[in-house]
Symmetry: C2
Subunit: 342 residues, 2 copies
């Protein structure tokens, strides 16, 4: 299978997809420098570490930023964006995140697409951790720039990023005066027409992506997304059944962020899981260190990985003196996995 | 072995080395945007496709370029650079290539280092294909920025680039106003101090590099460089023994560029080698297509790869009606390999 075709299927787009030799942050930079120019203005929806990154990149390239800073885990309604666009009718682009890795929150990209399509602005979406796990049809939802990277649901080690531009976005690409070279998508397009890439491609990773795309194709995109939904539901049911609270008001099916219960040190919890039980979950990043922890469930992870994580979590909580009905999280998760087994 | 330490050994430097998730061209961009500012000026030594790239990157970021355009394969003497710097005393940097992949030519980096060190300017060297094959001690030769990439003598698939800055270069890094984000070396330095990287690292390639560095360490850098010298000498002796001419007046021990003999179509020669004899040599790039061909001999290639290439070349030349003493190139190359065998 041709890698570009496989990625277009997952992006659900007829637009060209470009493969960059960089991590996802490189594709975020590519989105900014190819569509905007110094002095342009943008709305940035910042609900965590990666939303924050959009603002930093825009400012580095002289773009004036109206930043919507959300509480970590809070959603942002399309109606709010609509009001924001009315107040700032001249913005050239709206930057959002499909699924914020720092909080496990999904944003209403479909809704933002409805709103932004009615304006002159572009809708630019960081789908690094979300694409593949969450349905996000680029063309149907009117996204103008969509990007992702190899290491999340694409199931390949980090080092490749993927980016696609709508026709509306290309009209801004043509007039963009931001300085760029390595991430210049016009160079990439010219090379693609000749069947090459402008710079040396990260070929070993591309071959790995080719194999991983075959696995996704065997599932079918719809089933691959359902698989992520089931893992998300099982994890959430598991942690809630033992009295734990979710961080996110709109949880994404890529990872589950769980508030550390009162009286327990979140950093010790993560350390115990990792060192004593060899189960690698993530802590919260600054400035929320210790306040919550994150259980991933995406890409090549399966139902029994959820059971494993919950088992280690229960063992850890016992060690730390948390009071709960032992085994409840495993039963709750298993029930959801069993009902949905195919 | 720690990868950064291994690369520092090969760069022969005490400076920090930063690992980028990009191809070598990304590190070239990093060299420009971190040290220069819009309106700065630079001398670019352009002896081929990659020298040309320096000029393109500088111009993309608003740097004024005095470009020395050389005939492909021609050397450039340090005295010429000295005169150029006298005429243009205000340049902020001199950009050169250690070994130009498009022509197989080595430039006098040691000599340029002597000259540029006496000025305020930085000496910036693209060592993508040269480092590891050719001795280029960064500190001893007074280089200010040295960069390379994973896929040449470092013996790892493409996707990683390495870059190092001298103290003199850091003073320009501190004052550089070029817009940058993904390639911002100050971010990389801050992260390195905390033992991390600013963006997701291309970890599978880093682990591969760790193994390849162990191989180089077992040889020892000096022997690894001698190995390249011997392969270069054997290849040159081989092609010259059958009446072929070298393109380069100062051949680099990374590949040998050979002029296509009169009456033979160079593109057919390369195609025959590749398709009939399954021996992958490279043709010449635009605007010299067909006029010469390039036999690589670097990284994990060994003496018998040289013999293989020459055997296929002789077979191809027979097919194309070139008149020569059959077997002579093999004998000439084998003699050099045998004499130097350890």
């Amino acid at each position: 299978m041709d890698v570009v075709t496989g990625i277009k299927t997952i992006f659900q787009t007829e637009n060209d997809v470009f493969i960059l030799a960089s991590s996802g942050s490189g594709a975020m930079e590519a989105a900014v420098v190819n569509t905007l120019s110094p002095g342009d203005s943008a709305i940035v929806i910042n609900g965590g570490k990666f939303g924050n990154r959009w603002g930093r990149i825009c400012r580095a390239y002289g773009v004036s930023v109206r930043e919507i800073i959300l509480e970590w885990g809070e959603p942002y309604a399309k109606e709010q964006l609509s009001e924001e666009l009315e107040i700032n009718p001249d913005v050239n682009a709206v930057f959002s995140t499909l699924a914020e890795t720092s909080t496990g929150t999904e944003y209403d990209i479909r809704g933002y697409g409805e709103i932004v399509a009615q304006s002159e602005a572009l809708l630019v979406v960081d789908g690094i951790s979300g694409i593949g796990a969450i349905s996000c049809p680029m063309d149907e939802w009117n996204l103008d720039v969509l990007l992702s990277a190899s290491q999340k649901s694409f199931m390949v080690p980090p080092g490749l990023a993927y980016i696609s531009f709508s026709k509306k976005a290309w009209s801004l690409v043509e007039r963009s005066t931001s300085p760029k070279y390595y991430f210049d998508v016009k160079e990439a397009k010219t090379s693609m027409r000749r069947g090459t890439s402008p710079w040396t491609p990260a070929i070993s990773l591309i071959l790995q992506q080719q194999e991983a795309l075959k696995i996704i194709a065997r599932f079918g995109l719809e089933n691959f997304i359902s698989h992520h939904r089931i893992l998300g539901e099982a994890t959430r049911a598991g942690v809630q059944s033992i009295g734990l609270e979710l961080l996110s008001k709109r949880p994404a099916n890529i990872l589950t962020a769980v508030k550390t219960p009162n009286g327990i040190d979140g950093e010790i919890l993560v350390k115990t899981m990792q060192e004593k039980y060899k189960t690698y979950i993530a802590g919260a990043q600054d400035p929320h260190k210790g306040k919550f922890f994150r259980i991933a469930h995406l890409g090549y992870m399966g139902g029994f990985d959820v059971i494993t994580a919950l088992s280690a979590l229960e063992m850890t909580l016992e060690d730390l003196g948390y009071n709960f009905q032992k085994g409840a999280s495993l039963c709750a998760a298993k029930e959801i996995l069993k009902e949905n087994w195919k």
